[in-house]
């Protein structure tokens, strides 16, 4: 009986220690699914980290340096930058702030980028309204990061 209690206590303690670590880890706040990384952008002034994703077509055209094409899709996902708990000297993405989407459609033989903004905790709060054209240009002009 004594041993049962002892083993039980040890197991509870071990479980508590394990939960303590895993319980603090954030869920993956953005599922990139079929989208791939184009590049990342850290904004030291705004204290944000962002990753720009694109669909296969967007990446192919970037790589081939082709002009925009119907059905290209871009998503710029921005998180608050926070210190990495496990390494002093490193910052990591924290709270998800917003997702900006640019979808290329064609209208009368011309490509038209459609910009949408989904905010959760906006870094743009003080700068609203957003200049859609400026943000679209910013997103579209990002160079592909070398990713062998």
């Amino acid at each position: 009986m004594k041993y049962t209690t002892l083993y039980g206590s040890i197991l509870l303690l071990a479980n508590a220690c394990t939960s303590n670590y895993t319980g603090h880890i954030r869920d993956l706040s953005f599922q990139n699914d079929s989208l791939r990384v184009i590049t990342m952008i850290v904004n030291e002034r705004a204290n944000t980290i962002a990753v720009l994703f694109g669909n296969k077509l967007a990446l192919q055209n970037k790589l081939a340096q082709k002009p925009r094409e119907n059905s290209e899709l871009y998503k710029l996902v921005t998180w608050r930058q926070q210190p990495n708990t496990f390494w002093y000297g490193s910052n990591i993405n924290g709270t998800l702030l917003c997702i900006e989407t640019v979808e290329i459609t064609s209208k009368e033989r011309q490509v038209v980028p459609n910009y949408t903004l989904e905010c959760f905790d906006s870094p743009f709060a003080e700068a609203l309204p957003i200049d859609n054209v400026e943000r679209t240009t910013f997103i579209m002009n990002q160079q592909l990061a070398v990713s062998p």
Binding site: I25, R26, D27, I49, L63, P83, Y88, L144, P148
Partner: protein
């Protein structure tokens, strides 16, 4: 106790004492020479000497009990291993970049409570590092940060690398000396995190394969399940005057592959690294079995994984 038992007891104690002291100091440490010792401010130097030097320099000062024959064997092993990791007496033999990286390692292992080891502190209380000591070390390494805006050379190097990369064909099969193969499909995996290092001027994106990604969502990461793979892509930082940082020159891909049986000597993880756009396999079997895990031991409580975002960013000293 009968006279016979008493005599037997005395003989036993004498034999044990003889065994313990016969080779007193016999397994001593060769302190060797000091060739280019670390030069740090006095207050930093004092901390390193009291807490680190016994195992991480050629100026090891043994306590009397460290010289006892049986104990001295273990002490010598610890000192030799300590010097292999880091030797402040041979500091100048490291490159400036390696010296800087070592100092950040030192601060982080102290911050994580991994060094000095508790077993050492139990018998060497002088080595305890106080909160004030940690603040001194932190201020010192903070002073080593060089924040540099991208200059024309960095921009040209990045552009040149980019231009040759987009024209090149996909690299053929690459295999690390320990058998871990590069997995081109990493680019289709879930992004686990993105990090920006102010200690060494790099930015990184970490990818988790479907097993690892599912494990994060299920909070099943202590330990991570067999088959988990984490890939880290690393670039130099290119920062403009507006404070925007983008990937510069691509540096390498680093792999962690979970298989607790196959990689039992390295925390259940196999490590590999592929350098440059050509993904040249790095190191040899011995290096891959020591160098990576030496650093990752700092987060042993996280099953050796550093780059996970936490809900509360506890910026402890």
């Amino acid at each position: 106790m009968s006279k016979r038992n008493f005599m037997f007891f005395i003989a036993l104690v004498t034999a044990l004492a003889a065994l313990l002291f016969a080779g007193y100091g016999g397994h001593g440490i060769n302190n060797g020479s000091t060739v280019g010792e670390i030069k740090a401010p006095k207050e930093v130097d004092n901390i390193l000497r009291k807490a680190c030097y016994d195992c991480h320099s050629n100026d090891t000062k043994l306590a009397w009990f460290d010289r006892l024959p049986i104990i001295s064997i273990a002490v010598r092993k610890d000192v030799e291993e300590g010097r292999r990791h880091l030797n402040f007496s041979a500091w100048e033999s490291l490159s400036p970049t390696a010296r800087k990286a070592k100092l950040w390692d030192v601060y982080n292992v102290i911050r994580a409570g991994r060094m000095p080891p508790i077993s050492y502190l139990q018998t060497h209380s002088k080595a305890i590092i106080t909160t004030a000591d940690r603040q001194i070390l932190k201020t010192y390494i903070d002073g080593l940060i060089i924040k540099q805006l991208a200059d024309s050379t960095a921009l040209e190097t990045t552009l040149s690398q980019y231009n040759s990369w987009i024209k090149s064909k996909a690299v053929s099969r690459r295999v690390s000396p320990n058998g871990i193969a590069h997995m081109p499909a990493y680019k289709t995996w879930q992004v686990m995190s993105a990090t920006s290092r102010f200690d060494n001027g790099t930015i990184r994106i970490l990818y988790a394969n479907p097993i690892a990604s599912q494990a994060i969502q299920n909070k099943n990461i202590n330990p991570w399940p067999k088959g988990s793979v984490i890939v880290k892509a690393m670039w130099q930082k290119l920062e403009d005057k507006e404070g925007q940082v983008r990937p510069g020159k691509f540096i390498n891909l680093q792999y962690m592959v979970k298989d607790k049986r196959k990689y039992s000597s390295t925390g259940g993880w196999g490590f590999a690294r592929f350098d440059g756009p050509q993904l040249k396999p790095y190191g040899d079997v011995l290096i891959l079995a020591t160098e990576c895990i030496d650093c990752h031991k700092t987060v042993e409580q996280n099953d050796f994984v550093f780059n996970l975002s936490t809900k509360q960013s506890s910026e402890k000293l």
